[in-house]
Structure formats: C-alpha cells, structure tokens
C-alpha cells in the first residue's frame, strides 16, 4: 500500500519536471511546478501512514487508539501554503513578463534577452 504511494510521489515529481523542461508557456510552467510539488504531499503523508490507524483527530475515537503521524500532516499544511504563495507570485511575474517582453514562451524571453 505505501509502496504505491511512493511510486506515485516519484512519478508526480518526474512528470512535473518533464512538463517544466518542455514547457512553451509560462502559465503551463507554473502548473507543472505545482504538479511536481504535489509529490511532496503524497510523500509526506505516505511517510506518516500506519496500517490500520485512524486520522490523528480524537473527536470520535478514544484517546490512545492507533493514529497516523500528526507531525507530517502539520508539515503538509505548511507545504500547501508555500505552494499557494509561490503560485501567486509566479503568476504575478508572468503577467509582468507578458507586459515587458510581449510573450509568455520561456524560450522567446530567452531569445530576446540572453
């Protein structure tokens, strides 16, 4: 079960990077980055997963029952926020790049100024 999650995490990372490398549009590039970063969520949650354990929320289960790792879940929360901030800033930069260079093709920007 966890092996599948690890395979998915590695796959998401590599396919996201592949998309970023071959991207021809800055917005597409940003989306590829989010795909690559989402691999870290899968990885973190898989590391904390335990067989037969519940979510670490004791609202309806007795204290002391087996639960999955609460720390990696809190870390995943941080991770999601970081991704949202990075996407917001990159999209703002994309808008500026379009105004400045007249193109959203990463290669086009390089050809003009590099």
């Amino acid at each position: 079960m966890t092996a599948v999650a690890y395979v998915v995490a590695v796959w998401l990372l590599l396919i996201g990077l592949y998309g970023a490398v071959t991207s021809r549009h800055l917005v597409h590039l940003v989306v590829c980055l989010t795909v690559a970063q989402s691999s870290t969520y899968v990885l973190l949650l898989a590391v904390g997963y335990r067989d037969g354990a519940d979510a670490p929320i004791f609202a309806d289960i007795p204290v002391g029952s087996p639960v999955v790792d609460p720390i990696v879940q809190a870390l995943t929360l941080t991770d999601v926020v970081v991704e949202a901030t990075v996407v917001a800033l990159l999209l703002a930069l994309t808008v500026q790049a379009r105004k400045r260079f007249g193109t959203v093709d990463p290669d086009g920007i390089r050809e003009l100024h590099g």
Binding site: L14, T22, I71, V95
Partner: protein, 252 residues
C-alpha cells in the same frame, strides 16, 4: 541550449534522480512499525495536555506554533509581493473605462450563473467560519477556513461584476484583515511572553475538551490565521482579477 540538448540533459538527470529516490525510499521504515518518538508523544498526550481533539492543529498552533507564525508571514509577504508586482502601472482613466466595460459584462452573464454564484456566497461564508472556529475539534482550522472564505469572494465575482466585488470586499478591508491576522498571531505570542514567560506559550485556560473554546490559545491563533489567509487570498485574487479586467478594457 537547444531543446534537444535540454531534453537529453533532463532524461539523464531524471534517471539519476529516480534511482536516488528509489534507493532512499527503499530505506524508509514501513507502515507496520510504531510512530516515531515525537509523533508518538504528540498522539498520546496532546489531547490530555491541550484539551484539543485535533492533534494536527494542536501541533501546528501550539507545540510548533513558531513554525506556523513563519508560515503565516510567508503568505503575508506573498500577498504584498503580488500587490507590488501588479499594482505598478495603473491609471484612473483605465479603471473607469474598465468599470464601464465590466458592467456590460455583468449584463451579459447568464442568469443561471448569477443565481448560482449568489446562492453560493452565504453557505460558503458560513462554512468558512465554521471550519475556522472548529479547527481544534475536527478537521479544519484557520488555513482551510480562510481559503474557503476567500472562495466566497470568488462567488461574488461570478455572480456579479468586478465592481460588485470591489463594493463587497474593498481592497483596503482585505488588507486590514490580512494585517490584523498577521499582527494578531504575534500578539498571541506576546501574550505567552507576558503571562507564561515564553513566546507563543499557552497562557489561557484550556477549557473543556470538545468545546469550541477549548485548547487555550489555539482558537485565538486559528482566528488570526483565518483572517490573515482570507485577507491574503482576497488581495491576491483581487489583484489578478484586476489584471484581467484592465487587460480586457485595454484590448476592447
């Protein structure tokens, strides 16, 4: 570098990375071993120590509250950065023109979409407040609730126009919410410094387990983060929507 050369470089790098990842992940303990020591301590004692039933929130807003403070300011800085990047070149004339065109768009929006958007605003706000307020009890918290609240703003935009969004949630109000949220968390931390001698240490009574106000400072910190997140996402959303509206008016 040519696209072909870049692709080959990527294939080589990706293969190496995949091998390293496979090697590393093969050594990760399986899912049948007990939790690590820190995680086990939190899982076993957080409920009794902090009277919160959601251990993830107890971890994020009490045991590791300093991390969350940094995280909150990350979002704050991102919203400020987006504003600085996008608000640079704008003239009043553009805004008026954009507002006029936007009203025309408002007329063109289909009635069903407007009805759906309007209907979604209320339930979304209630859900956002609920998720924020009950973070210490059930899955949720300030970050999740704040994003839901910001989504209510998007529903306003869908239902009406850019101008309607500006009236319901003026940027200054969003910025205020963001600042109050960021400052509020710091104040909670200073409260710990004053009354419990340690920054971000709990200084409030823990209350009864299962109550909305249980968990000491956790509900306060959650509220601060909820305000901050709703404000920050609202500001980012408004700035990006402004770009769409201004661009449309420039081309139309």
């Amino acid at each position: 570098m040519s696209p072909r050369g870049r692709a080959w470089l990527f294939v080589g790098g990706a293969l190496g990375m995949a091998l390293l990842l496979a090697w590393g992940l093969a050594g990760v303990p399986g899912s049948d071993v007990p939790l690590g020591r820190y995680a086990g301590l939190l899982a076993d004692h957080a409920v009794a120590e902090r009277h919160t039933t959601n251990v993830v929130i107890a971890t994020a807003f009490d045991y590791r509250a300093l991390d969350t403070l940094g995280e909150e300011f990350l979002l704050f800085v991102a919203a400020v950065g987006t504003t600085v990047l996008l608000r640079a070149t704008r003239e009043e004339r553009d805004e008026e023109r954009a507002a006029r065109l936007d009203e025309q768009r408002g007329v063109a929006t289909s009635d069903s979409l407007r009805a759906l958007g309007t209907g979604l605003v209320g339930p979304t706000v209630v859900l956002g407040v609920y998720v924020t307020a009950h973070g210490q009890l059930t899955p949720g918290g300030g970050f999740q609730g704040g994003v839901v609240l910001a989504a209510a703003l998007l529903a306003v935009y869908v239902a009406g126009t850019w101008l309607a969004l500006r009236h319901v949630a003026p940027v200054s109000a969003l910025e205020l919410s963001e600042a109050v949220g960021a400052g509020g968390f710091v104040l909670v931390g200073i409260g710990g410094l004053l009354f419990a001698a340690v920054f971000l240490e709990n200084f409030l009574p823990f209350g009864t387990k299962g109550d909305v106000l249980s968990g000491g400072m956790v509900p306060l910190a959650n509220l601060a983060v909820g305000l901050e997140v709703a404000g920050a996402f609202g500001v980012i959303l408004t700035e990006l929507l402004d770009q769409i509206v201004l661009r449309r008016s420039a081309s139309g």
